[in-house]
């Protein structure tokens, strides 16, 4: 997204995560225009210093479904971010929160659909 000219700010509780941002990048993350804040999405100060108040979009994609659901709602209700997306692995939870107006991406669902398609196509090809 940075390459496409957007301004990107990452928030992670692990300071080491910064290194991962620079993989395949010819300069530092900051020089490329990125921002990095150490903290968790549940800390309002961390969200604020990451610049949530002027964000056009917010993506909650920590490794915890419940954490993502909670911080997505904080971003939406408290900071009024126009576009909020939560990554939810559990399809059932994803489906229900989607109905409640939380934009969700469910990688499990996506993977199942892709696998299903592959399997069916392979089966059709061999049959």
């Amino acid at each position: 997204m940075l390459r496409e000219g957007h301004e990107v700010s990452c928030l992670d509780e692990d300071p080491e995560a910064h290194a991962r941002l620079e993989v395949n990048l010819d300069r530092s993350w900051e020089d490329a225009g990125g921002q990095f804040t150490v903290g968790t999405g549940l800390e309002e100060e961390a969200l604020t210093s990451a610049g949530i108040e002027r964000a056009d979009a917010f993506i909650a994609s920590t490794d915890g479904d419940n954490t993502n659901i909670v911080i997505a709602q904080i971003a939406k209700r408290k900071f009024n971010v126009p576009t909020v997306i939560a990554r939810i692995l559990d399809p059932l939870r994803a489906e229900w929160y989607e109905k409640q107006g939380v934009n969700t991406i469910c990688p499990t669902r996506v993977a199942i659909e892709m696998l299903e398609k592959e399997v069916l196509e392979a089966a059709a090809g061999s049959g």
């Binding site: 549940l42 800390e43 309002e44 915890g64 479904d65 419940n66 954490t67 659901i69 909670v70 709602q73 904080i74 209700r77 408290k78 559990d90 059932l92 939870r93 229900w96 409640q100």
Partner: protein, 231 residues
């Protein structure tokens, strides 16, 4: 369910809080299902609670459904994870329309999030201990006896110090801050009583007042000592 008999209560988390709560609620004749996602903990607690505990992650909807959430009268989320507690209570309330929920707050800094998501009541051990401290340590001066944020009402208790500026005043002459009312006085030897306009306040009295939230500081000053010694 219903007619004054026991309730059906689901408890998420079989830690010290969840386990003991389950025990107490079962003793009182309620039906209880505890949900615990740590296999070892589950095995330990299952030896005592037997069929009253189920193994699984209570933030997964099918686990809640297996525990019979649709007929639950109350869901209590007391896991060690605040996000889990928030989510469990949110789905219990909004998806399964459970009448009563109670959530545990592990980190007091997360309290605003519980409020933002409409999760109440919530219980925070840290806050409870702070309250007790307020009560036990007189330097805190002002003690919250009751907070009803919904009703926008608080009841506080304050000890009138020796140099309190209202000691010696008639209650009828007090010009209490707007939005507050003196409701009772606890006096050494006399116990508690409701004051009349002629009651004269004494140093050492503990006064109980009902007030609008946010007036604590004003009342502290009102009942307190003059900083400049002019009182």
């Amino acid at each position: 369910m219903g007619d004054g008999k026991g309730k059906y209560i689901i408890i998420a988390g079989a830690g010290k809080v969840g386990w003991n709560l389950a025990r107490e609620l079962l003793e009182k004749g309620n039906e209880v299902t505890v949900i615990e996602d740590n296999r070892n903990r589950y095995t330990t607690v299952e030896q005592e609670l037997e069929h009253n505990i189920q193994y699984g992650d209570a933030s997964e909807l099918w686990v809640l459904e297996r525990a019979g959430i649709s007929r639950a009268d109350m869901v209590i989320a007391v896991t060690g994870d605040d996000e889990d507690n928030m989510l469990i209570c949110q789905v219990a309330k909004e998806k399964y329309l459970v009448d009563r929920i109670i959530a545990r707050v592990n980190n007091p800094r997360n309290r605003p999030h519980f409020e933002l998501l409409g999760i109440k009541p919530y219980v925070s051990a840290t806050d409870l201990i702070l309250r007790l401290l307020e009560h036990e340590v007189p330097e805190y001066g002002l003690v919250h006896l009751l907070d009803l944020p919904e009703e926008r009402l608080e009841i506080i208790e304050m000890l009138l110090a020796d140099d309190s500026r209202v000691a010696g005043e008639r209650v009828g002459d007090l010009n209490m801050p707007e939005g507050s009312l003196l409701i009772s006085i606890l006096r050494e030897g006399q116990g508690g009583f409701v004051p009349t306009p002629d009651t004269v306040l004494e140093a050492g009295d503990e006064v109980l007042a009902v007030l609008d939230p946010g007036l604590e500081e004003e009342l502290k000053v009102f009942f307190g000592s003059d900083g400049d010694g002019a009182g």
